[in-house]
């Protein structure tokens, strides 16, 4: 059979294209995390507002992998957490198309959600499931049944204690608040170190600790549109929380005016024997370059239960969402898929060379042996805590209601107000907000 030279050349070119297409197709399937092959958004530069935290530093440090895969550049705009809410609000008011991506605290979500793009359809298309997170973290990104962001940072509350001192005095790790008072009394008497409680209402951080007590005692914050956080259970919880300072006197000096950060610094400086709060404080404040403690001296456990009830802890998360006004929503989704992947999170938590990041949210990472080995088992403890945790009510009036409760707690502890009267007054004001709709 005669085959012309021309036909051979055409066939060769065709075969080359086919092979290239097959190779390209194979590469497409090989692209991890559901990223689209072929770099359709190459040349796009995304802007991303994120809080200052080691975890996001870790993302930025590993960004080259994403750019190599997609051709998309990302500019991180790090904002101190204290200014983050105002920054996001200013973008909301302005209706800016930038930043393309925003990291926010879940409790702000109900008030901000109309500036975030629902991503359910894209998640389904790319096989991204919220099931990879614990329930509290799923809820923190979901409003009106729609997912508005993927949690990138999230915290469980844990009890941190001086393991060395507990062992020295033959004390068991407390599992209830009453036991905590008992062991703290002994440590305070023998070592002069107390609980680094924090009651300041400066940032509302006193509310979550009380909520742990209150939930564990069977109380609720809001039920069927009614403010019920002045129930007998809630009042009893507040009385006990205040008694740590005013009756049992087991707190460290300064607890009345401490913020959460003051508390963890106090423990890190060796001035307190116990601290209850977000686990991220463990990596950078309780332990770390500027503290005096070693990992061998610090133990951690789930938050104590109140009475004979089970422990119910508060959890929070910080999802990253796509700006609904963004002109680069598809590219932003590519980034969101990459930045939320479990491998990146694991690498961030294991690698201690540059920064001590401990925050993980994927269920698989929280119980991963390698992750826990690198962090002394902290993630496993957090996983246990997250298994029975709850989040703030998803109401747009919640930030103001939380402030009312925070003021009431501070007033009771620092100014001697009566717990019932303080919570009653806060509940009346909260009800007005709820009734406004």
């Amino acid at each position: 059979m005669f085959i012309s030279r021309r036909a051979i050349i055409i066939a060769a070119i065709g075969a080359s294209f086919t092979a290239s297409a097959i190779a390209s197709s194979a590469a497409a399937e090989d692209l991890p995390y559901g990223l689209i092959s072929g770099k359709p958004y190459a040349g796009t530069t995304l802007t991303y507002v994120a809080p200052v935290a080691g975890q996001y530093d870790g993302h930025a440090a590993r960004l080259q992998e994403f750019t190599d895969l997609t051709g998309i550049e990302v500019e991180f705009d790090f904002v101190p957490f204290g200014n983050l809410q105002e920054r996001i609000l200013s973008h909301k008011v302005a209706g800016d198309s930038e930043p393309d991506l925003i990291n926010y605290m879940d409790s702000w979500g109900p008030a901000l959600k109309d500036m975030f793009m629902p991503i359910d359809d894209m998640m389904i298309a790319d096989g991204v499931s919220m099931e990879r997170y614990f329930g509290a973290h799923q809820q923190g990104s979901t409003y009106d049944g729609k997912v508005h962001g993927l949690p990138l940072r999230g915290h469980a509350q844990l009890l941190f204690y001086r393991k060395d001192l507990m062992e020295k005095h033959g004390l068991a790790v407390p599992t209830t608040w009453a036991e905590l008072v008992e062991v703290a009394t002994v440590i305070k008497e023998k070592e002069g170190l107390g609980i680094a409680s924090y009651y300041s209402n400066k940032n509302g951080q006193n509310v979550p600790v009380w909520m742990n007590l209150m939930w564990s005692n069977g109380g609720e914050l809001i039920k069927d549109g009614e403010a019920v956080f002045n129930s007998p259970e809630a009042v009893e919880a507040l009385q006990f929380y205040a008694d740590l300072e005013n009756k049992f006197a087991v707190n460290s000096e300064g607890a009345k005016s401490f913020e959460q950060g003051d508390g963890s610094l106090s423990m890190g400086a060796g001035n307190s024997a116990f601290y209850m709060g977000w686990w991220w404080h463990y990596g950078s404040r309780i332990l770390g370059k500027n503290t005096t403690l070693t990992a061998e001296q610090v133990g951690f456990a789930g938050m104590p239960a109140f009475g004979n009830s089970e422990s119910v802890t508060f959890a929070m998360s910080m999802p990253t969402a796509i700006n609904v006004e963004s002109e680069n929503q598809e590219a932003a989704w590519e980034f969101l898929k990459w930045v939320s992947n479990a491998d990146l999170e694991k690498a961030n938590v294991i690698d201690k060379s540059e920064r001590n990041v401990i925050v993980a949210l994927h269920r698989e990472n929280l119980i991963d042996s390698e992750v826990n080995a690198a962090n002394g088992g902290l993630q496993a403890a957090a996983a246990a805590s997250l298994g029975n945790s709850r989040i703030f009510p998803q109401l747009d009036s919640w930030p103001e209601i939380m402030q009312l409760i925070s003021n009431a707690i501070s007033d009771v502890v620092a100014n001697g107000a009566d717990p019932k009267e303080a919570l009653d007054a806060a509940a009346i004001e909260a009800q007005k907000l709820l009734d406004r709709g």
Binding site: Q85, E86, L89, K92, V93, G95, P110, A111, L112, D114, M115, Y199, S200, N201, K202, N203, S252, E253, G254, A255, K256, S257, D262, S266, A269, N271, D396, S397, P399, E400, Q403, N407, A408, S410, D411, V413, A414, N415, A417, A425, E429, K432
Partner: protein, 293 residues
């Protein structure tokens, strides 16, 4: 162009700048105060609600009344304290000479510092564990060693006032030094020759002659005290409870924590009205009507 018109032309840039940076935001805030604008619901003001936000402030919001009370306490404390210490500094430093001149410059330094830095620094200084002020007080006044300086309403307000005095007293003292140096030396010398004691000269000559400067200083300081925000934000966060929640801070919280821009604007406008009254007094003092001294 006629001379008569040139003066209008010359003030146009300044007028435009003031309109852009002061009058427009003020006018916008006033208009928003009559609107329902909850940022959680809308990016822009929605319904006109008339005086509803003002009615809410006066009839249905104990926190607003609390903030007014706190503001008045702060203004009284900071004005009286700052003016008293300024006068004290001025009396010590109102002499001619290189040493006094250098000292006056050094003393004025706190006023040159950023209020944000001052607020943050004082919070560190007062920390019960490592704060330098706390340590010094513990050594000098052992009976006060157990006091958590920001842990009670009384002490938190006291330190808020002290921080403000620390910032303002040196600057106000410069105004008073100028006033003191303008008092005729002959008058004081004559009184001394007549046997008047230092105390008598202060009460009968210095203080009456310094009264106009003192009055202006008080009113000026009151205006700034009403507006003070940074120290509350950084030092106390309005707490404990709401014991240091001033009107400016409360307006901020309503806007940026509660997302209620309409109500926040109403609180801010009420504060502005108060300030207008104080400013009128101030202008009356520095620009007296004909025949007044």
């Amino acid at each position: 162009m006629h001379d008569r018109h040139i003066k209008f032309l010359l003030i146009m840039p300044a007028f435009a700048l003031v309109t852009l940076t002061i009058l427009y935001p003020l006018g916008y805030a006033v208009s928003v105060s009559f609107m329902d604008w909850r940022l959680s619901r809308s990016r822009a003001p929605t319904d006109f609600v008339g005086l509803q936000n003002y009615v809410r402030a006066f009839t249905d919001d104990p926190s607003f009344w609390n903030s007014m009370q706190v503001t008045i306490i702060f203004v009284l404390g900071s004005v009286l304290g700052a003016v008293f210490f300024a006068l004290l500094i001025a009396l010590l430093l109102s002499r001619q000479g290189t040493v006094y001149s250098i000292t006056r410059s050094i003393v004025a330094l706190p006023f040159a510092m950023s209020p944000a830095l001052q607020g943050t620094s004082f919070r560190f200084f007062l920390n019960p564990e490592f704060g330098i002020f706390d340590r010094i007080i513990d050594k000098l006044l052992p009976f006060a060693a157990s006091i958590d300086w920001l842990g009670s309403g009384f002490w938190a307000m006291t330190w808020l006032i002290i921080t403000d005095i620390w910032n303002w007293a040196p600057f106000l003292s410069l105004m008073m030094i100028a006033g003191l140096l303008s008092i005729p030396k002959e008058t004081l010398d004559a009184a001394a020759v007549d046997g008047a004691s230092s105390w008598k000269r202060f009460w009968t000559i210095i203080l009456p002659l310094l009264a106009p400067v003192l009055a202006i200083t008080c009113v000026l300081k009151a205006i700034f005290s009403f507006k003070m925000f940074e120290y509350v934000y950084l030092l106390t966060g309005g707490g404990p409870g709401e014991k240091t929640s001033t009107m400016t801070f409360y307006a901020y919280r309503q806007g940026f924590v509660a997302y209620d821009m309409g109500y926040s604007s109403a609180v801010a406008v009420l504060l502005a009205v108060l300030l207008v009254f104080v400013s009128l007094v101030y202008f009356r003092l520095i620009f007296p009507k004909d025949g007044e001294t």
